[in-house]
């Protein structure tokens, strides 16, 4: 089946390299940020442009082989290989949130063995829920603020920091609306993710303009497609999304760590660090934040019911321990609730295999 032809011309997205260069020319710094959660507004307040590093895909991962265990996921493996082959030279600092054991291990390898040219700033995320978790995270952000002040040799005022937070909250709200509006957007699944994932590296103003342009697109009544929910960490290889389009399905909502789990609500506190922590921990349940599996299950069922989705595709990165640990319970829970699901395991460096495509195709035939 051909993808929906009723699609809009896409707003163009600048290349990361050009954005970084332009930012440097304006005197700002660029941070390479590893997955998943981090305080974007805090970086912006220091004039730092965050550029997220989800792998990237299709990297010769051999360089990392000597430093990482064979069972480490391809996101971490690729990130280390990319760094060691000079791919992150553009960055002035590296931020490594401890989303999982593999990323925590990467942080240690960087600090203890690799000693990259850039400073490495780890970020610990709480595993316990609010209020203790919020207070812990706020303290982590204060410590990060201190480190950023040392690296940049400047300290934004509290009102500058608060303004940066409020500006990001506007962008977060726009992103949430883009996600909500997706059933009527004239975009294929592939194009939708191509656009919204620009949030991973665009400067704030550029992203706000992009989000507004997407929201202004004329609504379409799409031809009937099979609505599905996509869950996992990151929709890579992106060809999997092309396969979804070609097979006559549409991702109508997602529970992806890089997308749907980062639709942060605005914080409430006046203290900027508490406000940032409230916002980050207010996102939807996430295996890497230690959310109870039942919360994740309820969230998935809620997403499916509110969007009329017929099934859930778990698109998991091989060896992703936090996701794979929850998977059997989630699938059983969905099955008990009458919602079919399937798992497709991927490696960031592999093309979408014939087998993975067949699995997806058979699943879509089953739920069509």
């Amino acid at each position: 089946m051909q993808p929906d032809v009723n699609v809009a011309p896409l707003p163009s997205i600048p290349r990361r390299r050009d954005l970084a260069r332009a930012h440097h020319e304006r005197g700002g710094l660029v941070a390479a940020v590893l997955p998943i959660h981090y305080p974007r507004a805090l970086l912006r307040a220091f004039g730092i442009l965050p550029m997220e590093v989800w792998g990237p895909p299709n990297v010769d991962a051999a360089r990392a082989a000597s430093r990482l265990q064979p069972y480490v996921c391809s996101i971490v493996r690729n990130a280390l290989s990319f760094l060691e082959s000079g791919g992150l030279q553009i960055a002035d600092l590296l931020i490594v949130p401890h989303a999982c054991d593999s990323l925590q291990g990467l942080g240690s390898v960087l600090l203890d063995f690799v000693h990259p040219a850039q400073p490495v700033l780890p970020l610990y995320l709480p595993r316990n829920p609010a209020p203790e978790g919020t207070a812990f995270l706020a303290d982590e952000f204060r410590a990060l603020h201190q480190r950023l002040a040392e690296v940049t040799q400047r300290t934004p005022s509290e009102s500058e920091l608060m303004q940066a937070i409020l500006d990001e909250e506007v962008a977060d709200d726009l992103l949430r609306r883009v996600h909500e509006q997706r059933p009527t957007l004239p975009l294929t699944t592939f194009d939708f993710y191509h656009l919204v994932r620009a949030r991973e590296f665009l400067p704030l103003d550029s992203f706000v303009s992009l989000a507004r342009a997407i929201l202004a697109m004329p609504a379409v009544k799409s031809p009937p497609k099979i609505p599905i929910v996509l869950s996992g960490i990151v929709p890579e290889p992106m060809d999997m999304l092309r396969a979804v389009d070609e097979l006559g399905a549409s991702v109508i909502a997602d529970d992806l760590a890089c997308c749907g789990r980062r639709l942060y609500p605005a914080g409430r506190s006046r203290d900027p660090f508490m406000r940032l922590a409230e916002s980050l921990l207010g996102g939807s349940p996430d295996s890497t934040r230690g959310s109870p599996i039942q919360d994740r299950l309820d969230h998935l069922l809620g997403l499916a019911h509110s969007t009329g989705s017929r099934g859930v595709v778990f698109h998991d990165v091989k060896f992703c321990e936090p996701e794979l640990f929850d998977l059997p319970v989630l699938r059983r829970g969905l099955r008990d609730a009458g919602l079919p699901s399937i798992t497709v395991e991927v490696d960031l460096n592999d093309a979408v295999s014939h087998q993975a495509r067949t699995r997806l195709e058979a699943f879509l035939e089953m739920i069509a």
């Binding site: 079919p340 014939h354 087998q355 699995r359 195709e361 058979a362 035939e365 089953m366």
Partner: protein, 265 residues
């Protein structure tokens, strides 16, 4: 032969099959050949054979399934093996349950609802363990004819334990067992057990709903069915022409595409 209303072709990794069905979905013609590397040429040739044998020069409507389904340019539609096996099994046996299909290159377990609808499935598509290829490779190593494999295994009084279903490791384990004087029959029985245990693990991922059905070329091997029964405690039902189930199901999908409903067995 006239009266063929729809066609299915299953381009598998080991064999390529064509099935023609008449009104009501009764299988009335089938062809089966070992799959050749030049699949497109073989498909053309087999379709010509089908046309000659049936008198239906168009061989349409045609639905393609199997590993090489996208290579069938003549097909009106392509459908996965999961859907086709489910259709074929339901039409052949008339009930739902749990279908285990062991193909040359992959194996799958499909849970069928009472009306034959696919409720869930699991596929082993990552390695040769648990597939026909596993048995094929090892029987070559043991010098036993593939057709007699199950019979020889069932004749064994003892059973060797194989710790691996990986084709590569199993082969070296076999060499080691032979070197230690273990007979061919116990090794073969152990091999079948290893394969079946792998299948049972897959069955558990979708949940076993009786009756248990077995299809694919391996279903002709009596040891697989017997050991599957021993491991699950369920009677195994093998449909007629277990190797043709995918092509048969594809023909039934083609029949539905022209507004005809397959009848009951």
């Amino acid at each position: 032969m006239t009266g063929i209303r729809a066609w299915g072709i299953d381009v598998g990794s080991s064999t390529t099959k064509i099935v023609g069905v008449e009104a009501g979905g009764t299988m009335c013609l089938h062809l089966l050949e070992d799959s050749e590397p030049r699949a497109e040429e073989q498909i053309v040739r087999m379709l010509q054979r089908a046309a000659a044998a049936s008198g239906d020069q168009r061989v349409r409507p045609l639905v393609a399934t199997g590993y090489g389904r996208k290579l069938v340019q003549q097909a009106d539609r392509v459908v996965t093996e999961i859907t086709c096996h489910a259709r074929g099994a339901y039409r052949a046996l008339g009930h739902g349950g749990t279908l285990v299909d062991v193909g040359g290159q992959d194996s799958k377990v499909i849970k069928l609802g009472p009306q034959g609808e696919v409720l869930d499935f699991a596929m082993n598509d990552k390695c040769a363990a648990g597939t026909g290829r596993f048995l094929e490779n090892t029987c070559r190593r043991l010098g036993v004819d593939l057709e007699r494999l199950g019979e020889v295994a069932l004749a064994a009084r003892d059973e060797a334990t194989l710790s691996s279903t990986c084709t590569v490791f199993a082969e070296s384990e076999i060499v080691s067992l032979l070197a230690h004087g273990v007979g061919v029959e116990p090794i073969l029985k152990g091999l079948h057990r290893a394969l079946v245990q792998r299948l049972v693990a897959m069955i558990h991922t979708v949940g076993l709903t009786p009756p248990l059905m077995l299809s694919g070329g391996v279903a002709r091997n009596p040891a697989v069915a017997r050991l599957l029964e021993a491991e699950t405690g369920e009677t195994v039902v093998v449909p007629p022409h277990p190797q043709l189930l995918g092509a048969f199901g594809a023909a039934l999908v083609a029949l539905e595409s022209v507004g005809e409903r397959p009848g009951k067995p």
